[in-house]
Symmetry: C2
Subunit: 237 residues, 2 copies
DNA sequence: CGAGGTGTTGACTGATGTCAATGATGGTGG
DNA sequence: CCACCATCATTGACATCAGTCAACACCTCG
């Protein structure tokens, strides 16, 4: 098993010799409501996890890349949908197989738990963004987040600051809790402020990473303490 | 060990004979940035988990009640703050003790993992709320969420629809990603629509639970599939 | 070349935020 | 016990950011 403490990237041996599956762009591998039988590890490409409400509103929960894991749930059924954003390749194994593997391999259990914590921490990052940040701040953070994802997943980009954006503006909007027009406008605003330039609609060149970091309000994505605030005093309620 | 599959409530024997600690209102038991040495189980009272950004913006991540667990992290340091909203009682045990306990007790490991999943699912619920719902929808959901928390934690309320609100409007606002004035206005609006009435500022009587559910867009909080949407078709991206 | 999907931009609307005044609540000390 | 003060909650008037609706540009695929 390989595990990257910094990023939560994992490769479980449970997936060794597991069957591979190719996905077309837009193909759905997990439907919300289906019985949760399988878990997947991404070999290549980009997948999107989302949840759709009764009235059709959609929230994208995460974009996943190589070595990310998907299919986790405590319940019998998936409560989210997973779809390929680009052509992708995944390996699948059954939940039973994973359970058994975790039961047998003692170290794996702890590693796996840490991985789940990572997912939780990402989710809490998103909560902070959606609850507290403005549109342009969210987009800045999103670009930095993608930059890190590519670094971490070992993508061979010609330039680490030239970020591919395989997903649509609508997908980004649904991730950031905005409308697609607002996403477009925020891209334009970032360009106007000379923090990025846009070679084309599906890539962004980060020309001022520090400026983006300031806007996003983070020190460093790799820090476990991502949002250190002032130490609070006890306050009588 | 007691574990409630529906709610994720847990009581680990790891806490048996663990030292008890009393908390005053407003007292902080976990400071973001401190080394994560301890974990806690709540015996009584209400605790609040939050994160504060560099510029002082605060996001409340959750309100916790009896039998909820707090102190989880994959990293060496806490990246969140935990504070008592009411006078509270907790039992603490060291992370090491918990780790060891989980290593020895085979079943505990799986139970514990399920518990972490519950926390994750709550966090994803919050992501959906913050990203997709309006102010009044978020507040409706919040009231239903509290109602369930009290039910589940076995609180002996004279009326299960008369919900105590021990936290301040500011706390609620920081949880729902709103300003306190907007929270006030949304309370007034719910009252105007006759979905709730307000005996006083720190309790709400839910007079039309179904109406609140419709507004919040959920079928039932206890359902694992909380937000069933229409089954999606593969779409070429 | 045309059609349809996607992205950008503009004009306007509306929901939430901001600022400020007033009203309620709760704790403290006379 | 009550009066006072500080804090918190509510409400109103106004500002602002993001959403809506619509036009147009662009790209891809036939």
């Amino acid at each position: 098993m390989k595990y990257n403490e910094q990023t939560g990237e994992i490769y479980l041996d449970a997936f060794t010799s597991a069957p591979e599956r190719k996905l077309r762009t837009g193909e759905i591998i997990i439907h919300a409501g289906d019985t949760a039988k399988q878990v997947f590890n991404i070999i290549e490409g980009c997948l999107m996890v989302s949840r759709v409400g009764k009235d059709g509103r959609r929230q994208v929960m995460s974009f996943l890349f190589r070595n990310n894991f998907v299919g986790l749930t405590a319940t019998e059924k998936y409560f989210f949908t997973v779809q390929a954003v680009t052509p992708a390749k995944v390996v699948c194994c059954t939940r039973n197989h994973l359970e058994k593997y975790l039961a047998d391999e003692h170290d794996a259990e702890k590693t796996f738990r840490n991985m789940v914590f990572r997912v939780l921490e990402n989710s809490l990052d998103l909560v902070y963004s959606l609850g507290q940040r403005t549109a342009i701040e969210r987009l800045s953070l999103f670009l930095l987040y993608l930059r890190r994802q590519y670094q971490v997943s070992g993508a061979e980009l010609p330039n680490p600051d030239l970020i591919p954006l395989p997903m649509s503006r609508q997908d980004i909007a649904d991730f950031l809790g905005l409308k697609k027009e607002t996403v477009s406008r925020s891209f334009s605003e970032l360009e106007k402020r000379q923090l990025i330039s846009r070679p084309d609609a599906h890539s962004a060149l980060l020309t001022e990473v520090e400026g983006l970091r300031n806007l996003a309000g983070i020190m460093d994505f790799s820090s476990p303490l991502r949002l250190a605030g002032p130490r609070l005093k006890d306050k009588p309620g």
